[in-house]
């Protein structure tokens, strides 16, 4: 297992509306690499911290198109080129007969690639991230600013978090 590495500042809230407002202010103040950690999905949070849309849909689309094309190619090659077989007097290349397999392979490629892309983008299967505070899975909401933030200065961030209403501010260093 890779070494756990965690260093940054965390501010806690106990109200989901207030943390959304605070996240808005944080973004307006120019912070870029911060994240919100909440026990449940908070409406409006993706907008507040400026999370961009996932790129999974593009993976799905391209993989779907590829799956469909490969499926059609496979059927064409096996039933019209490699081993041409007369089925019921129909043409070797009969599109209606090939659609079901094309369709299924479109779905198969699109679905599996989506799951794969999701794992990749989520950095799964990383199942033991460092624990900042156990209460973040049940009753507390937090804004987390890691030390990768450009111009990282713990004192400044601590003051700013207090200013935007954090109920508790803590510096986290864990290696």
């Amino acid at each position: 297992m890779a070494k756990k590495r965690l260093s940054g500042v965390v501010g806690f809230w106990s109200d989901d509306h207030k943390i959304v407002e605070a996240a808005h202010k944080m973004r307006e103040a120019g912070y870029k690499h911060f994240d919100a950690i909440t026990p449940f999905p908070v409406h409006g949070m993706e907008d507040a911290i400026g999370i961009k849309r996932s790129s999974i849909p593009y993976v799905t689309f391209i993989a779907g198109v590829m799956g469909g094309s490969l499926g059609l190619l496979l059927e064409y090659w096996t039933s019209a080129v490699s081993w041409a077989l007369n089925v019921g007097g129909k043409p070797y290349f009969s599109l209606p007969a090939f659609i079901p397999v094309t369709f299924e392979l479109t779905i198969l490629f699109a679905a599996l690639s989506s799951v794969g892309a999701m794992f990749f983008l989520n950095k799964l299967p990383q199942v033991d991230p460092p624990i900042i505070d156990p209460d973040l899975t049940c009753s507390k909401f937090a804004l987390w600013i890691p030390d990768t933030e450009p111009g990282y200065s713990p004192e400044k961030i601590e003051a700013f978090l207090k200013q935007i209403g954090a109920e508790e501010v803590r510096r986290v260093v864990e290696f």
């Binding site: 999905p41 409406h43 409006g44 993706e46 849309r53 996932s54 849909p57 019921g88 209606p96």
Partner: protein
Amino acid sequence: MSGLNIENVSPQKFKLGNTANMAMMAMAGLGFALLVLGFIVNHERAWHAYLVSFFYFTCMAMGGLFFTAIQHVASAGWSVNVRRLAEALASFIPFVFVLGLPIVIFAGKDLYLWLNADEVAKDAILQGKAAYLNKTFFIIRFAIFAGAWILFSKKIVGFSLSQDNDGKDSWTVCALKWSVAFLLVFALSFSFFSVDFLMSLEPHWFSTIFGVYCFAGLFQSSLALLTLMALYVVQNGLAKGLVTIEHVHDLGKLTKGFTVFWAYIAFSQFMLIWYANLPEETIFYIDRSHGGWLYISLALLVFRFIVPFLALLPRWAKRTPAHLTAVCILILVMEYVDIYWLVYPNYSHEYVAFSWMEIGAFVGFLGVFGIIVTRFLGQHNLIPIKDPRREESIHHHVTY
């Protein structure tokens, strides 16, 4: 968003301008006048034109009630604020009964070969089917189906309207129970209805998936219509904070989903018949692959599936009013083309017949439908204002 409170937002009254109202009356009058003229000139063709438009608006009305029922059955929260729009579509259902009666009673052999006694006498297959395909049973079936639909629409929509008055949660429970029953009744009755009115136009032909095919078209197109109505409400600010682009987005998603469903069912019907290659089944597609009909068949594939599917695929497509409006109108046009494609080869094998008679019938029905639906919306609140799940619908938000 979070700041909204149910108490401080309420829908405006829907009010139709006098010009729009007059225009719809004129459409109804002019359309039916053209239709009457059509009956004098060529009654056989006029019946076909009438049947296409009748079936089209039956689909819209039933689509509204079906949408309402599945929202109740799923105990859906997001859709509460657009449910009244679907209920407005369902208010046309009594007219399905009124406008369908002429077909079952008077159309006779102008539409249906099996109502032509001379033809039946020399056709063993039609004689074999006579126990089901005969005029008395046809009328009885239609009366039962339309009667059941009226009953369910009055009940399910009625509960919702009663709740607007007294705000009792128990109406929601009643609506759930009746909706479950309606879904069962609808599945059977609409299948038989489409078999009776459309499939029996070619009484030698049969397709076991035909009812599902008609349903797929019904739901895709009525969802497109609902999307347009919701967009109208959003863009005119009739229910600010209540019906938003989020609701429109989800209706657009459903429209896209059922676009694929339609294609799936349409292809299932085609592929099995193509594969088995039995003469009594292939006749349907042979009729539709000759003359101008081949182009209509291909147009269905392109403009009812490929174009709307790709056009509704990106997220922005479902949140851009002008784009969404264009796609929904395309789907609604293609629903007409689809029903026309099911009906008209029965009238003219060789060429595609479309002129003032078909337009007149459609405009006439559209006028009546518009008057009924807008009157319902004018008489009632634009959203179910006391539904127990209304708050969930206000906060509805489509995440990335």
